[in-house]
């Protein structure tokens, strides 16, 4: 009963999605967005007309002005600095704009240019000191905050009356201050344009990437040849210029130079930046976050104003929000990866009936023997990790190595070896096509083709993305084994879409159907997923009818058959069920039956653990990987089976001292060649009663 609940929950409760969602970068923006929606909803409920068009237009106007400053500060924070002087710069730029217009009487375009230049210049002072002189950002901008504010106060004494006395009336100036385009305030339009450019700049353009890189790691950025000092300085210049744009709109809207202009602005802006999720540590941030942060701050301040909360309390509220946001920022940054690593691994229920006996004397097709004890060894200590082996019609032997090479051993004695092709990833399953191209699955890279003249080409490394998966499963993570259909289509397995190749034990620990079978059509150049939800699909072999494949599911301990053509197209049927071990590669035998490598044997402790996901979940959290209960792949065997699902023969090595692990086997001219992914050797076993002329792919392509 309890087990039925566990099985039900494991099948229908998608707990594996939590880790996948948290690993998405957009979750960092999602949290501020949710906060924004909550704040907006709460305020619209408590204040009448909060979301009316008029109120919204007014909000947008203010949001635009502050928004520019937030964008500037965001840049500075992303590059790893801080700019406290934005409030004072804002005031000075406001003064500059009105001074140029009201006193000097300059034309509007000149006023705009002069104001932005003024802001850029003020920012450049910060940039020079922090970027080139390498002063501390905090203390430097604190000093410029005081200096700029003092300058503003001095200028105010001399000019405030003269500015206040004149009332310039230009349509263009009024449009900047209060105009709109199709009901959208001019400042909001300008902000949208700048924000879109800012987004493209940060995510698509080289300087934007440089800024993020410097914020992420200044030293690494420097070592990568990025002009760190110049980029930092330019960020402060940009901050000044953007502040100036905000000030320009402010000046046009209100036209005043009061003593309180820009006071406390840095706190508001900083709150917006942090609330949006732009990390104070640098290296993380986006325009969307800046926008969301701006809106939250604005809604809160305006909401509080409408609710007639006194100014002191407003500031206090903002400061409190800033504090909370800063704490969350620090804790989240520190613990995000830890949380993900805790929740990403989510074991599922995986029931297997008691296995058939293997003990000597117990009888049955799996009864152990010592036939493989005396296999002769090829390349001992000279090859590492030959997962699969294959032979050409000249009897040369090909095998992958963990250095990313395909090694060729020369017939007849396999003493001489060479690097046939260097690919760069771990080669796994291999097959020859009609034209003697060697197709090879490469862990972490995809499906590759090596022509007879050793040219390495990528066949495919992505398939169609599933509609409902959270993880992007278009990229191939662990292409494992393949075979080629008569018309040239290549069917290959991808063992898991949730983990990388070296994390296969985690996939086994999870034992959920995360794998799939993918079809690559070299004639059309297309790649499509044909079967999903398989438990570590591994070996693949085209069946005798040429319309179906046999495929092994390692952690379901089964071999199934899938029809891709013919009257049964699309159907899947079980061929071998409840194997005593974990099936790996499948290949054709000379007598028309099939070889199956059983890479490891089941143990009762793990079979039980597979029925208890909660136990495995805690194991994954509390024990290091080296201490986990693993599928035992130190001992394995080779069996021969037919399409009816009968085991005909098994080949064992009782002690596993000579050839410890078997992930694949290939019959060739009366011998069986054995590969093992954790081995440093290839095994060769003389078969009794085998066709001495059998060459697998010559037979397949009708050359024999």
């Amino acid at each position: 009963m309890q087990e039925a609940i566990v099985r039900f929950k494991s099948r229908f409760w998608p707990d594996h999605l939590l880790g996948e969602i948290l690993s998405k970068r957009w979750t960092e923006t999602a949290i501020p967005v949710i906060v924004l929606l909550i704040v907006g909803f709460a305020l619209s409920r408590s204040i009448d007309g909060f979301l009316s068009p008029v109120a919204l237009a007014d909000q947008a106007r203010q949001a635009g002005e502050i928004g520019f400053i937030v964008l500037g500060l965001s840049l500075v924070v992303i590059v790893g600095g801080i700019d406290l002087s934005v409030g004072s710069m804002f005031a000075l730029c406001d003064f500059c704009a009105l001074f140029c217009l009201n006193i000097l009487g300059l034309p509007i375009p000149i006023v705009i240019i002069a104001t932005i230049a003024c802001g850029a210049l003020l920012g450049a002072v910060n940039g020079l000191l922090i970027g080139y002189m390498r002063l501390r950002a905090f203390i430097t901008t604190l000093i410029t905050l005081i200096i700029y504010r003092s300058a503003y106060d001095l200028l105010l004494v001399d000019y405030s009356n003269r500015i206040a006395a004149s009332f310039p009336d230009f349509p263009a100036w009024n449009f900047i201050g209060g105009g709109d385009v199709l009901g959208v305030p001019s400042v909001a339009v300008a902000y949208i344009v700048v924000a879109i450019f800012g987004h493209l700049f940060l995510t698509r353009l080289r300087p934007g990437w440089h800024i993020t890189a410097i914020g992420g790691s200044r030293r690494s950025a420097y070592n990568s040849g990025i002009a760190v000092r110049r980029t930092i300085a330019l960020c402060y210049v940009a901050s000044g210029a953007l502040t100036a744009i905000g000030a320009l709109f402010f000046a046009a809207r209100l036209g005043t130079v009061g003593g309180d202009v820009g006071i406390g602005l840095e706190v508001t802006v900083l709150t917006a930046v942090v609330l949006g999720g732009i990390s104070l540590g640098g290296g993380k941030g986006s325009v969307a976050k800046a926008l969301v942060g701006t809106l939250i701050v604005l809604l809160v301040t305006n909401g509080l104003t409408t609710l007639s909360v006194r100014g002191g309390f407003q500031r206090m509220t903002l400061a409190a929000i800033l504090l909370v946001a800063a704490i969350i920022d620090i804790r989240w940054l520190k613990n995000r990866m830890r949380i993900i690593s805790k929740v990403y691994v989510t074991p599922a229920y995986n029931f297997l009936p008691p296995p058939p006996p293997t003990e000597i004397g117990a009888g049955g097709p799996f009864e152990q023997n010592d036939k493989l004890r005396d296999v002769s060894l090829i390349g001992l200590g000279r090859i590492e990790a030959p997962e699969d082996v294959i032979l050409d019609r000249h009897d040369n032997l090909y095998a992958g190595s963990r250095h990313g090479d395909i090694i060729r051993f020369f017939a007849p004695d396999y003493e001489k070896m060479e690097v046939f092709a260097h690919i760069g990833g771990q080669p796994l399953g291999m097959a020859f096509d009609k034209h003697d191209n060697l197709y090879c699955c490469i862990g972490g890279m995809g499906l590759y083709r090596i022509s007879p003249d050793r040219k390495v080409e990528k066949a495919t490394d992505e398939t169609n993305r599933s509609l409902l998966s959270v993880n992007d499963d278009s990229r191939l993570r662990l292409a494992d084994d393949l075979d080629i259909a008569p018309d040239g289509r290549i069917f290959f397995s991808e063992a898991t879409t949730r983990y990388e190749m070296h994390e296969w034990p985690v996939e086994g620990h999870e034992a959920r159907g995360n794998g799939r079978i993918v079809c690559y059509d070299p004639n059309k150049g297309t790649t499509r997923t044909v079967l999903r939800g398989l438990k570590f699909p591994n070996g693949i072999c085209v069946a005798s009818d040429g319309q179906s494949i046999l495929f092994a599911e390692t952690f379901r301990c089964s071999v199934s058959r899938y029809w891709f053509d013919g009257p049964k197209a699309g159907k899947v049927e079980m061929v071998l069920d409840n194997l005593p071990g974990y099936p790996d590669n499948i290949n054709l035998a000379s007598d028309g039956n099939y070889w199956l490598a059983i890479v490891g044997m089941r143990c009762p402790a793990l079979d039980l653990a597979w029925r208890m996901p909660g136990f495995r979940n805690r194991m994954a959290k509390r024990l290091p990987l080296d201490e986990w209960l693993f599928p035992n792949i130190n001992t394995g065997c080779v069996v021969k089976f037919n399409e009816k699902g009968e085991i005909l023969e098994s080949f064992w090595d009782l002690h596993g001292a000579n050839h410890p692990m078997i992930t694949s086997m290939r019959e060739h001219r009366g011998h069986l060649y054995l590969g093992g992914i954790a081995n440093n050797r290839i095994g060769r076993y003389k078969l009794a009663n085998a066709d001495p002329d059998f060459v697998q792919y010559d037979k397949r392509w009708g050359r024999a």
């Binding site: 590492e384 034990p505 490891g600 044997m601 089941r602 143990c603 009762p604 402790a605 793990l606 039980l608 653990a609 208890m612 909660g614 136990f615 805690r618 194991m619 959290k621 509390r622 024990l623 290091p624 990987l625 080296d626 201490e627 986990w628 209960l629 693993f630 599928p631 035992n632 792949i633 130190n634 001992t635 596993g656 410890p660 692990m661 954790a678 081995n679 440093n680 050797r681």
Partner: protein, 365 residues
């Protein structure tokens, strides 16, 4: 109340008492392969215990006490049941534990008499004997719930019914010195107290005649077993198997532990063993994966071989090991004679000899 709450939270989050830590082999326990390379004296598939009078080596092999004579073993006494422990007495006598349920004390080592029998109170798993002070015989009764051969069941049931007994040979009484020990396995007089191995708590304790238990050497990375006197003062402590985080974890996982005990054969449990690697049905841990044909010696031990030299204060000085990739595991007894250390490795069933001069030289002692 708060403590109970904290324990519940700890259990949920795997902190505090529920955190799973095993101390590393470090300091005096730094690994070597001296025990793995020890000289083989005899293959004894049923070997259980060793004792010496300083000149002769006696072993308990199945149901017989045998004397080592050159390269051969000669029977000196034979019983109808398996011997679980024995010791030589200072007066030339002999004490033997049979099936853990009975102790017989003889006046001489050789002979055909039946000796003096002790069975009460409810001896179940007497697994070590030692000559105590003033003519008494000390015995550790590992568990009152499980017989000696089923020690793994006692561990998995979180057994805490071990006792230290003192047998009064003159008057025939048995005195329970201490009870409630989490598997007592090995005892030796320690001034007025008795040094006892408390296996499931991975520690050596000193027990006073009043029954007061004082920890001496704690937080061992192994499960300690019998203790014998070393020639130059101090003791030899054997350890019959090693600890792993996986076993510690399973001990905290009640549901899995109960199902495992109910549904799986004991030899395939997740539990420490005297020998390992004999069947692919034994649980395998990540580090046990053979890579390039090699098993890492520092992988978590399902079985392990270790003898620790203790000082007169009961603290470790140096140790000899047979690591995870070795064979000489499941060390249950070690005695020193003639500057040689004789070791009973119950895992492979071997009597081993280790020249101590060589050990001291290799370890710089």
């Amino acid at each position: 109340m708060i403590a109970a709450l904290r324990r519940a939270v700890d259990g949920l989050l795997g902190r505090g008492e529920s955190s799973i830590t095993v101390p590393p082999f470090d300091g005096a326990l730094q690994p070597n392969q001296l025990l793995e390379h020890a000289e083989l004296v005899a293959e004894l598939p049923d070997g259980e215990d060793i004792a010496t009078d300083g000149a002769q080596i006696y072993v308990a092999d199945g149901a017989a006490i045998r004397r080592l004579d050159g390269a051969t073993l000669i029977d000196v006494r034979r019983f109808d049941r398996m011997i679980t422990a024995f010791c030589l007495l200072p007066n030339g006598g002999l004490a033997v534990a049979l099936e853990g349920a009975e102790v017989r004390v003889f006046a001489s080592i050789e002979g055909a008499d039946d000796g003096k029998s002790f069975t009460g109170p409810s001896m179940t798993a007497v697994n070590a004997l030692a000559a105590g002070s003033s003519g008494a015989v000390l015995a550790t009764d590992g568990s009152q719930a499980e017989p000696y051969a089923r020690w793994a069941h006692d561990l998995m049931n979180r057994g805490a019914s071990g006792r230290l007994l003192s047998l009064d040979v003159e008057n025939g009484g048995v005195n329970v010195v201490a009870s409630g020990l989490r598997y007592a396995f090995g005892a030796i007089p320690f001034d007025d107290e008795v040094l006892v191995s408390e296996s499931w708590r991975h520690r050596i304790v000193a027990i006073a005649p009043s029954g007061f238990v004082r920890p001496v050497f704690t937080d061992l990375p192994v499960y300690p077993s019998r203790i014998s006197k070393a020639a130059g003062g101090g003791y030899w402590l054997t350890c019959f198997t090693g600890r792993t985080q996986l076993v510690e974890f399973v001990l905290r996982e009640n549901a899995y532990r109960k199902r495992m005990m109910a549904e799986i054969a004991p030899e395939h449990w997740i539990v420490p063993r005297l020998r390992s690697g004999k069947s692919f049905k034994e649980p395998m841990q990540g580090a046990h994966l053979k890579t390039m044909g090699v098993v890492k010696p520092w992988a978590p031990p399902r079985s392990y071989g270790l003898v620790i030299r203790l000082s007169e204060a009961g603290l470790p000085q140096y140790s000899v090991h047979s690591r995870v990739d070795g064979e000489n595991h499941g060390i249950v007894a070690a005695v020193e004679a003639d500057d040689n250390l004789y070791v009973m490795a119950k895992g492979p069933g071997r009597l081993l000899r280790l020249p101590l001069a060589k050990v001291r030289e290799e370890l710089g002692q």
